[in-house]
């Protein structure tokens, strides 16, 4: 029988304590145990970035990390971006700039972009492209994703109700 270990993680502000098979990836734990299916699996080998989440504020590939390694961590997934039904400025910018088509890679892009804008509120286009280069999108050709992140950077510099 596969060994299990009990872990506790805080996801989008909510605590989850549950047994995780020691070989289970974090993304499977989030999707199956926490029921948070907004984080998507795209390659399971750390290239496509679809499964990107923020773990203690830093982006990680949740397909490359074991759930047990996340014990005690604070995790932000795409479900935690909007507040009270109001889209986060990044989500809003993606909507306005048509930065998603099928929407499957989008959660990973949003979290990668969020990390960028927290670290660098005024990125140049080249910096945005560099920061997003670990995420694959097949639908958009990236043009509108880059535009959306530029727009969100501007919007985030304006004071707003929730930061």
């Amino acid at each position: 029988m596969v060994q299990q270990r009990e872990i506790t993680v805080t996801v989008n502000g909510q605590r989850y304590t549950a047994a995780a098979p020691v070989r289970q990836s974090l993304v499977d734990f989030l999707r199956e145990t926490c029921g948070l299916t907004g984080t998507h699996v795209g390659c399971e080998h750390g290239v496509c970035g679809a499964c990107t989440v923020l773990l203690d504020g830093a982006s990680v590939r949740s397909c490359l990390m074991l759930a047990v390694q996340a014990d005690g961590a604070e995790i932000l997934t795409v479900e935690g971006l909007a507040r009270d039904g109001e889209l986060h400025p990044l989500q809003q910018a993606f909507w306005e700039h048509h930065a998603l088509q099928c929407g499957y890679c989008t959660p990973g892009f949003l979290l990668t972009a969020l990390e960028l804008l927290r670290e660098n509120p005024t990125p140049t286009e080249a910096e945005i492209r560099e920061a997003l280069s670990g995420n694959l999108c097949i639908c958009t050709g990236y043009v509108n994703i880059v535009r959306a992140v530029q727009a969100a950077a501007g919007a985030l510099r304006v004071p707003r109700p929730h930061a």
Binding site: M1, V2, P21, R23, Q24, R31, L36, T37, G38, T39, H40, V41, G42, C43, E44, H45, V47, C48, A50, T77, V78, E79, L81, A82, L87, Q91, F94, W95, E96, H98, L100, Q101, C102, G103, Y104, C105, T106, P107, L110, E125, I128, R129, E130, L132, S133, G134, N135, L136, C137, I138, C139, T140, G141, Y142, V143, N144, I145, V146
Partner: protein
């Protein structure tokens, strides 16, 4: 003809507000997509998000060999693993299911079962499937299945596969050549006799695929009480798949309920009926729902690649640059494709002369089996290779005659007053203005300015190159084209069907048989229906999921061939118009006014000029569903309609084999600037411009997004993406670490411009968009790279132009041996 050249994000001019007699409030407007908020919040419902009670998880046992005989399969150790619930082997599958019906039945038609039983024919060929309580256990168990193989010689190279002594992929077929023919259109030999110059080239295209980020999958749920199989799948062509799955499993089509959830990208290759059958067999055997979802390695190894191929092309040319005729011999590497063989070749007949007034063509296609992953549909199907060959050829002709490549193209364009225009192969170009499209593309990036920049760079020892390519981008596939291969007139034309229903509260629901995989159908269909019914966009709800029990569908239903704007629109409008007529009839009765005096405005029917006299849509719907005695005498209650639409241009091939394989033609011109670093052999795309003409645009925001994505796809194909097999048929590129997709750092900002030449043959003047950029972009990039390296005499005859390949070309050029012949890879 109107050539407006409006920027895509601006509101259309007032004159464009009249869409075929409809006052358009939503159509033509760049409205934000209705589906986006749920996708942005992680609330999409994709296949892997679906959980059924008691559901098992499946894994395939796959062949490690390209070609081998299966001697023995031993499943005992796998069955003994705790958590394993069921296993189906190839032999068992053959006892319980039939051969899968192909889309294009070639004359030899080898049998095609869902699992391999006697032989494996490519690395990744499934030989058994295991169900267990979770995915990890299923994979553990799959690894415990012992398969004894006797390796056989594999045939990998497409040109070697046609040799008489080549190993046979399917002995039953008697040959690796599934289809071969020679079509002569017009006086080819006469044209070559008159030619001042004959330009002969050999071009090769590689295997690549669009690799949607969501892999292909299926959940099968067998209900023995109802004898009902429910299949959840992200299959792009449900209308085709239902019949194939039912037939293979010995069920009626009424016993198969197929549901498509949100689909995370498709691009043609998200389809594998064999997997649906295999997973269904497991569900039937275990009595529990079974889910299978590819992992990325399986997706890259075994789902579907675009055909690689080799094309020999000769052009008869006059000294002034006029191209008189083409002779083309074309080898398409089908891998182990038995579903749609010959499709890549047939579709090339639609863009064989591209945008040019070429009067005669001889086409000699070979569809060839090899021991590789099945080939199949992928954004553009065959047309990217055809465009690559002809647009590379045009550059070679220009070089030979000392003409500017743009000038050569202008000299050969079909003139704008010649539409509709029938090409020698029978393609029927509905409309367009090819010279204007190219003129705008040249202006978009300032072609003359780029040439000056290139001259300056060359003086500094830098290698800048300018690429041009032009393309027709055909849409809506007429299945009658397959008659050329099959001789059977059993599947012809193309259609779609839609249902529009006004709910009792006056809101509107729309369903149609096409399944969205990112193209914004929830928005575009709502824009159409909102305008027909005179309601707010937000009052129209378009079903995002396909469910064969509630969504109207037909065999051609599905997401392929840029079909939405060229066929689906007819179905959606037709259904909406039937409902509109009924709304007006009921309102006329209630308001005691003739229907022609009524108008639909803001969710109300009112008497024109007397806006107080009216009824809301809700009031009319209440009559239709509840207050039945208030209906006009004899009228059927209810307020819904279904409409089936067939594209009117489809017809059978004629005696001369002229064929309308696709029906409505968008066109585009691409222009790019690249720089080649002669030390690292790296190509950088510095600028990329696209001008395209897809007629009326229902939603310019969506159209522009499609252009960006398709163009990026073509850039990826030109420079990065390649499935590489070694000479024993092992696939060397099985992860995204070695099958390279372009990222934000490789795809440049894509600059766009638009023309709008409405199609006279679609209800609203719309044309296809989606495959577009993927067709001319590989040629455009290759033309630019060869242009950059012209001082060194380097020839680009195959793709992708990887640093490794370019390094060897550069080294050979420096050593004085240029013009390396391509290998077919």
């Amino acid at each position: 003809m109107t050539v407006t050249g409006q920027p895509s994000t601006a509101a259309p001019p007032a004159s464009a507000r009249d869409w075929q007699g409809l006052q358009a409030r939503w159509m033509g407007t760049a409205v934000k997509r209705k589906e986006d908020p749920r996708l942005l919040m992680g609330q999409g419902r994709f296949l892997d998000d679906i959980r059924l009670p008691g559901m098992l998880h499946a894994a395939f046992v796959r062949s490690p060999h390209a070609h081998a005989r299966i001697r023995r399969i031993d499943t005992a150790a796998a069955r003994a693993l705790p958590g394993v619930v069921g296993i189906v082997t190839g032999l068992e599958a053959r006892q319980r299911s039939g051969s899968l019906r192909p889309l294009i039945p070639v004359p030899s038609e080898p049998p095609n079962y869902c699992l391999a039983a006697d032989k494996v024919r490519y690395v990744g060929d499934p030989v058994a499937i295991v169900a267990a309580v979770d995915r990890a256990t299923a994979e553990d168990a799959a690894a415990l299945v012992e398969v004894e193989y006797e390796e056989l010689p594999a045939v990998i190279d497409v040109e070697q596969a046609v040799e008489p002594d080549a190993p046979l992929v399917f002995e039953e077929a008697g040959s690796n050549v599934l289809w071969h023919d020679v079509f002569t259109y017009g006086d080819v030999d006469g044209a070559f006799a008159q030619a001042d110059v004959v330009v002969s080239e050999r071009f090769a295209i590689h295997r690549y695929a669009s690799t949607p980020i969501e892999c292909f999958g299926v959940i099968a749920d067998w209900d023995p009480g109802q004898a009902l199989l429910t299949v959840y799948t992200n299959d792009q062509r449900p209308g085709l798949t239902i019949g194939v799955v039912a037939e293979a499993l010995g069920l009626s089509e009424a016993q198969v309920r197929l549901i498509c959830p949100d689909i995370g990208g498709g691009f043609g290759n998200k389809r594998r009926p064999a997997y649906i059958v295999a997973v269904s067999l497991l569900a039937m055997a275990t009595g529990r729902p079974v889910k299978y979802l590819e992992d990325r390695r399986e997706n890259l190894t075994a789902l579907m690649h675009a055909c690689n191929g080799v094309m020999y092309i000769d052009a008869a040319v006059r000294r002034d640059g006029t191209v008189l005729a083409l002779k083309i011999r074309d080898y398409a590497d089908e891998g182990t494709n038995l579903i749609s063989p010959a499709q890549h070749s047939l579709l090339k007949l639609g863009n064989m002369v591209n945008t040019y007034r070429i009067g005669a063509v001889r086409y000699e296609p070979y569809s060839v089996l090899t021991n590789k992953c099945p080939s199949g549909a992928n954004r553009g199907i065959g047309k990217p290779f055809m465009c690559f060959a002809i647009e590379r050829l045009m550059d070679r002709i220009a070089e030979r005659l000392g003409l500017d490549p743009a000038e050569l193209r202008f000299r050969n364009f079909i003139p704008p007053d010649q539409f509709p225009y029938e090409t020698p192969t029978g393609a029927y170009y509905d409309s367009g203005n090819f010279p204007e499209t190219l003129r705008r593309a040249l202006a978009l990036l300032d072609y003359e300015g780029l040439r000056r920049e290139q001259a300056r760079a060359r003086a500094e020892g830098r290698y800048l190159g300018i690429g041009l390519s032009v393309a027709v981008e055909p849409a809506s596939s007429n299945m009658a084209a397959y008659v050329l291969v099959t001789g059977k007139k059993t599947s012809t034309g193309v259609g779609e069907t839609a249902k529009v229903r006004v709910e009792p509260d006056g809101t509107v629901r729309v369903a149609f048989g096409d399944v969205c995989s990112g193209q914004g159908y929830e928005t575009a269909a709502a824009q159409l229906v909102a305008d027909v019914l005179g309601v707010d966009l937000h009052a129209v709800h378009v079903n995002p999921w396909f469910d064969s029990f509630t969504t109207p569908w037909m065999a051609t239903s599905g997401n392929y061939a840029n079909k939405f704007a060229t066929t689906d629109v007819g179905a959606i409008l037709g259904a909406a118009q039937k409902v509109r007529d009924k709304i007006l009839a009921i309102a006329a009765h209630l308001l005691e006014a003739p229907p022609e005096d009524l108008e639909l405005v803001d969710g109300r029917v009112q008497v024109r000029g007397v806006p107080d006299r009216g009824k809301t849509l809700r009031e009319i719907a209440q009559v239709a569903y509840r207050n039945l005695l208030a209906l006009p005498p004899g009228m059927e209650p209810g307020l819904e309609a279904t409409h089936f639409y067939a594209n009117p241009l489809a017809k059978l091939p004629d005696e001369a084999h002229r064929v309308r394989g696709q029906l409505i033609f968008t066109n585009a011109a691409h222009i790019c600037l690249v720089e080649v670093d002669p030390e690292t052999a790296q190509v950088r795309v510095l600028r990329y411009g696209v001008v395209h003409d897809c007629g009326r645009e229902i939603n310019p925001l969506i159209v522009e997004g499609q252009v960006h994505g398709a163009t990026a796809h073509g850039i990826g194909a030109a420079l990065f993406e390649e499935f590489v097999y070694d000479d024993r048929g092992q696939l060397l590129t099985t992860t995204f670490m070695d099958y390279l997709k372009p990222t934000t750092c490789e795809v440049p900002p894509i600059e766009t411009g638009h023309l709008e030449t409405p199609s006279p043959f679609t209800p609203l003047g719309t044309k296809g968009v989606g495959e577009g950029g993927a067709i001319p972009a590989p040629a455009c990039v290759a033309n630019a790279v060869e242009d950059a390296l012209r001082p060194l005499g380097i020839r680009i005859d195959r793709l992708p132009i990887t640093p490794d390949r370019l390094f060897h070309l550069l080294r050979a050029a420096r050593a004085g041996q240029v013009g390396l012949s391509p290998s077919s890879g």
